[in-house]
């Protein structure tokens, strides 16, 4: 990071004023330019289309400002501009950190939801070897959490043990509705030695989020004002009971994972297993896992990865809906949630500069059940350049 030493910038009001007692201000940033294409008409996953190489969906630039206010207190803010948001710079994180002593640290504000191993570093491409972390696990649904984090570090049998506890909420508006995780509570435990790092995490919350537009259209309409009839629905709708059994509205949810990383000489391997679960809903409670192995030879790091996304389509909900057009429509929607797939990846990262890297990944998406529309077996070619300063 570039440094701004307060004592050498005497004219800066903030730094020279005793009222604010700022020790130093650091500004740093990171950026990723990613382009991907399937090079044919097939659509493998998410937005990648035919012959064009699309650079917008995954490119981003981030800026981080950190003010060191004395005695263990610091304030950090991060602004990120993303290609798919038309480069609208958004204040993503802002939090205060207080180092109580060499065992305890507390953080409060808005920061990345740390469900899984790479959750908090997904935007900093420079920090990992793939073009993108395994999509089966790292879907950008719950991005930032507002709340508190308590960290405890200690030495345990010659290893470093780090326990992180979180409490807060996630709230974000997306195109099809609001994503809400309230009373989010949980944490992670990381045990690391010289050549390995083991992590366990578990989080619980009350979840509300839209799962699929087709599903939303089936929900019974909201009751109208008292005395007036409810607004008419556009098509068949479910009974209230079935509606409740399908939608994700204040339902108990949990997110758990175990991950292991091994580093031996120039060889490394990472494996992670995750489980996401939402009770009483159409959510497929998927188990998602991956294994990645790589080797670093000077500045080149080739790697291979296998991922699996294993959802559980909730056909039992059909029992709650009497036979009819609504039930048929519901069955159709549940069928679309059968998104069982595997991804095979081979890629290489080249650190051509101390603060920058270029990567190339080849992925092959293999769906268990193809539907010819969204779920089509297809290759994806991606190239990415990352930098930090």
């Amino acid at each position: 990071m570039k440094k701004l030493l307060c004592y050498s910038y005497g004219t800066l009001l903030l730094c020279s004023s005793n009222v604010f007692a700022i020790d130093r201000v650091d500004i740093g940033g990171f950026g990723t330019v990613t382009g991907a294409s399937t090079f044919n008409d097939k659509k493998p996953f998410r937005d990648y289309r035919d012959d064009d190489i699309d650079f917008k969906p995954e490119s981003l630039f981030g800026l981080q400002v950190r003010a060191d206010l004395k005695e263990g207190l610091s304030a950090t803010a991060q602004v990120v501009a993303r290609g798919f948001d038309d480069w609208d710079a958004e204040f993503e994180w802002g939090y205060l950190t207080y180092i109580i002593n060499n065992t305890w640290t507390v953080k409060g504000g808005r920061f990345r939801t740390p469900f899984f191993q790479y959750s908090d570093v997904v935007d900093v491409g420079y920090a990992y070897h793939w073009v993108r972390p395994p999509v089966s696990v790292y879907a950008p649904l719950f991005k930032n959490l507002d709340g508190l984090n308590l960290t405890h570090t200690s030495d345990l049998w010659n290893l470093t043990s780090t326990v992180n506890l979180f409490y807060g909420k996630v709230n974000k508006s997306v195109s099809i509705g609001d994503v809400d995780l309230s009373h989010l509570f949980g944490g992670s435990w990381n045990l690391s030695g010289d050549w390995f790092s083991l992590r366990f995490s578990y989080f619980e919350a009350e979840a509300s989020f839209p799962f699929a537009p087709a599903h939303l259209a089936l929900l019974p309409p909201e009751p109208g004002p008292p005395g007036a009839p409810a607004a008419p629905a556009a098509g068949p709708t479910l009974t209230t009971e079935a509606g409740k059994a399908t939608d994700i509205n204040d339902d108990s949810a949990y997110f758990a994972s175990v991950s292991l990383r091994l580093d031996y000489d120039n060889l490394f391997a990472i494996a992670e297993v995750t489980k996401s679960n939402v009770d009483d809903s159409i959510f497929t409670n998927p188990v998602a896992y991956y294994v990645s192995v790589g080797y670093t030879y000077e500045d080149i790091t080739p790697h291979v990865t296998y991922e699996r996304f294993d959802p559980d389509a909730q056909y039992n909900i059909l029992n709650k809906e009497p036979a009819g057009p609504a039930r048929d429509a519901l069955e159709g929607v549940i069928e679309t949630t059968e998104e069982d797939f595997e991804v095979y990846t081979i890629g290489v990262r080249y650190d051509f500069h101390r603060s920058a890297a270029i990567k190339f990944d080849y992925n092959y998406y293999d769906y268990k059940v193809e539907d010819g529309v969204f779920r089509v077996d297809a290759p994806l070619y991606s190239i990415s350049a990352n930098f930090v300063f």
């Binding site: 990071m1 440094k3 130093r24 650091d26 740093g28 990171f30 981030g62 981080q64 950190r66 060191d68 005695e71 263990g72 610091s74 950090t76 991060q78 994180w93 939090y95 950190t97 180092i99 109580i100 002593n101 060499n102 640290t105 953080k107 920061f111 990345r112 908090d120 570093v121 935007d123 900093v124 420079y126 920090a127 990992y128 570090t153 470093t160 780090t162 690391s192 010289d194 670093t296 500045d299 650190d351 101390r354 603060s355 890297a357 930090v388």
Partner: protein
């Protein structure tokens, strides 16, 4: 014993003298090829007890404060220097690029404060000498009394 080092003509010397000359020759070659010894330094007023393991943990972001509880502020030398590479291999035991990639993760996820960057040894010494909780590293040859030594690597 004949040793073909042109300017020494060792074949004409015998016994203890020969051994001395050979050792001197070997050492002079070694010091050209050998890596610089690194000294980890702190402010002269520093009174905590930290060992090599603790220093490594600080520079890996696994510990953010000294045993006394005060926040440790890490000073590094410019990333493109040989001294930085030496430090990565000797103190951290990671290749420089892996260390930078690892550190960027800590900084951008808020787990550690960015390291303070100094251009050269004298700037490192100036920073460490002027601030109570700063810890940095320099080639041992640049060591002087303005800073306190923690360990040599």
């Amino acid at each position: 014993m004949r040793l073909y080092i042109p300017f020494l003509q060792i074949s004409y010397f015998k016994g203890a003298m020969m051994k001395k000359i050979i050792m001197a020759a070997l050492f002079s070659v070694q010091s050209v090829l050998a890596s610089a010894e690194i000294s980890v330094i702190v402010n002269p007023s520093f009174s905590d007890a930290i060992d090599t393991g603790y220093v490594k943990q600080l520079f890996l972001g696994k510990k953010v404060a000294f045993p006394s509880g005060s926040q440790a502020k890490l000073v590094t030398i410019d990333h493109s220097t040989d001294v930085f590479d030496e430090f990565c291999f000797k103190v951290i035991d990671k290749p420089p690029r892996k260390f930078l990639s690892y550190w960027s993760r800590l900084v951008f996820t808020g787990k550690a404060a960015p390291m303070i960057e100094a251009k050269n040894s004298s700037e490192v010494k100036k920073l460490v000498a002027g601030n109570a909780n700063y810890i940095g590293f320099i080639p041992s040859v640049d060591m002087d009394e303005s800073v306190k030594l923690i360990n040599k690597y």
